[in-house]
């Protein structure tokens, strides 16, 4: 059980996103080029301490399916919205991987060999604010006893671990918008190092609330294209003006190839590994030349079996901010050289918005399905490619990927200068 460098594969996917309540609907939406961004409504603002017209940003990519329509009421009272999304996506991924009961009860996986690595960038921020309002308005006695287990950032991971009886370890890497990808990377390492045979991994976020909106907006990070919500998230387009806040979760079931073969599981693709680095540049600004991103790419190439000539697809971080989108492409060109020319680049945030800590999870699911279906999703709203983007960005129409063995990478970068690059390959 102490094997190292074991091959890790993906055997299950699950998601609940602005495009759909499961991974299949989300994938359909991505391939069709649907936008999940909508205008925020008076109804949404009704219970909030702010008038809608006072917000500088009045658009967001809210989840297509409300957790309240899927989960029983007692669970909704005990789980922050971020944990609700995580649980919904994790249940789908678990069933998709062919497990029929929790670890230990399903004989295919003992509880001691199952892990969970589920991240969030922000944690239970809406729980904190709701309970603060209760404290002010109704008094200390009325503050929910579930507040702390709801707002702690490891709550989604802990609930996923409880749901499936994960006893090998339950973890929550936190690195802002790189959190979800870092969790998937952590899951890969848990299996590589022999700590677990199966890990449920991914990311979740739920912070569409006036406070984060005002805060991100005051950082000049968000699109203010309030009049045209569906056109607001436009990575790589010359007229992009910031990201659009999204919510939801994406999860994968990672498994050692040996374990998957033994139980006859369907395998989507191989997870080759991760490249990591940090910018050490600025708390929130991307390093303009993408040096940190390039370092993560080099770490990936140095430590995995990824062959640049096999790279056919990239799910870019590309959040639609003026600086970040260009820095990422510069870094890729610097490291991959001419090999970047045969990489079909998709910026799925053009459709889902930016799910922050959930992005790495949802985009890992999207990359897994892109390899599985050999289809690179479109990048919508790309009317005029920024001349500084010297790369092959998939435009309005989805594109077929080549046959044979192909590889893909999924990039996620976070405030704080965290860079995570994941590599995947067809089997």
């Amino acid at each position: 059980m102490n094997a190292t460098n074991r091959t890790v594969v993906v055997t299950g996917v699950g998601a609940t996103t602005p495009l759909g309540g499961d991974s299949a609907t989300t994938w359909e939406g991505l391939v069709a080029g649907r936008s999940g961004v909508r205008a925020l409504t008076e109804e949404w603002a009704a219970d909030l301490p702010v008038r809608l017209e006072d917000l500088p940003v009045r658009i967001a990519a809210r989840a297509a399916v409300e957790p309240a329509d899927v989960l029983p009421r007692p669970l909704l009272r005990r789980l922050d919205r971020s944990a609700q999304f995580a649980l919904i996506a994790a249940r789908e991924a678990w069933a998709d991987a062919g497990f029929t009961a929790k670890a230990g009860e399903d004989e295919a996986i003992p509880a001691e060999r199952l892990g969970a690595a589920v991240a969030t960038g922000i944690g239970g921020v809406t729980t904190l604010m709701t309970q603060y309002d209760i404290l002010k308005d109704l008094g200390a006695r009325r503050v929910s006893p579930h507040t702390v287990p709801m707002l702690m950032p490891n709550s989604p991971s802990a609930h996923v671990g409880l749901e499936f009886n994960a006893r090998a370890g339950v973890h929550t890497p936190v690195s802002a918008c790189a959190s979800g990808a870092e969790a998937v990377g952590y899951g890969i390492e848990m299996i590589r190092s022999g700590r677990a045979d199966v890990v449920v991994a991914g990311g979740t976020e739920a912070c569409i609330h006036p406070l984060p909106i005002a805060a991100f907006s005051n950082m000049m990070a968000m699109s203010k294209n309030n009049d045209a919500p569906e056109a607001a998230s436009r990575p790589y387009d010359a007229a992009r003006d910031g990201f659009v806040l999204g919510e939801g979760a994406g999860m994968v079931v990672l498994e050692s190839a040996e374990h998957a073969a033994k139980r006859g599981a369907r395998v989507y693709c191989e997870m080759l590994g991760q490249g990591l680095s940090a910018d050490a540049h600025h708390i929130a600004q991307p390093e303009p030349e993408g040096r940190g991103i390039a370092a993560a790419m080099r770490h990936l190439l140095d430590t995995t079996d990824l062959k640049p000539e096999q790279l056919a697809h990239l799910n870019a971080h590309a959040t639609s901010t003026p600086q970040g989108d260009v820095a990422e492409i510069k870094a890729l060109r610097q490291v991959l050289g001419e090999d970047l020319d045969h990489v079909a680049i998709s910026a799925t945030k053009s459709m889902t918005g930016h799910l922050l800590g959930g992005a790495g999870g949802v985009e890992t699911v999207a990359t897994v399905l892109a390899l599985h279906h050999r289809t690179a999703p479109p990048t919508i709203n790309l009317d005029r490619l920024d001349p500084e983007v010297d790369a092959d960005v998939v435009g309005a129409e989805a594109r077929q990927l080549p046959s044979g063995t192909i590889a893909a990478i999924n990039n996620s970068f976070g405030f704080g200068g965290h860079n995570v690059v994941l590599a995947l390959r067809t089997v």
């Binding site: 009421r73 007692p74 009272r77 005990r78 006695r141 009325r142 929910s144 006893p145 579930h146 287990p149």
Partner: protein
């Protein structure tokens, strides 16, 4: 006016239904909150706060530990309501 025993049981059933999702008719006097009604120690605090509000009683934390069954709570509320 003080609530009758039947009214207290009905009120607790509403509360337990809201918090734990247990059907009202399953909330009967002999049932244990923890073992039968899916009310863990955290949710028990929610039940107590809701009961305090509904029946106009104060249930100090030290007394909550003694409320194992629905019947225990009914007796406590009946004795302490104003």
């Amino acid at each position: 006016m003080a609530a009758t025993k039947e009214e207290i049981i009905a009120g607790l059933a509403d509360i337990v239904n809201e918090i734990a999702g247990i059907p009202n008719d399953e909330v009967t006097e002999e049932k244990s909150f923890t073992d039968d009604l899916d009310v863990d120690s955290l949710s028990m605090v929610e039940v107590v706060v809701a009961a305090e509000e509904r029946f106009g009683v104060k249930i100090p934390d030290d007394d909550v530990r003694g409320l194992k069954t629905v019947g225990d709570a009914v007796t406590y509320i009946a004795e302490h309501q104003s």
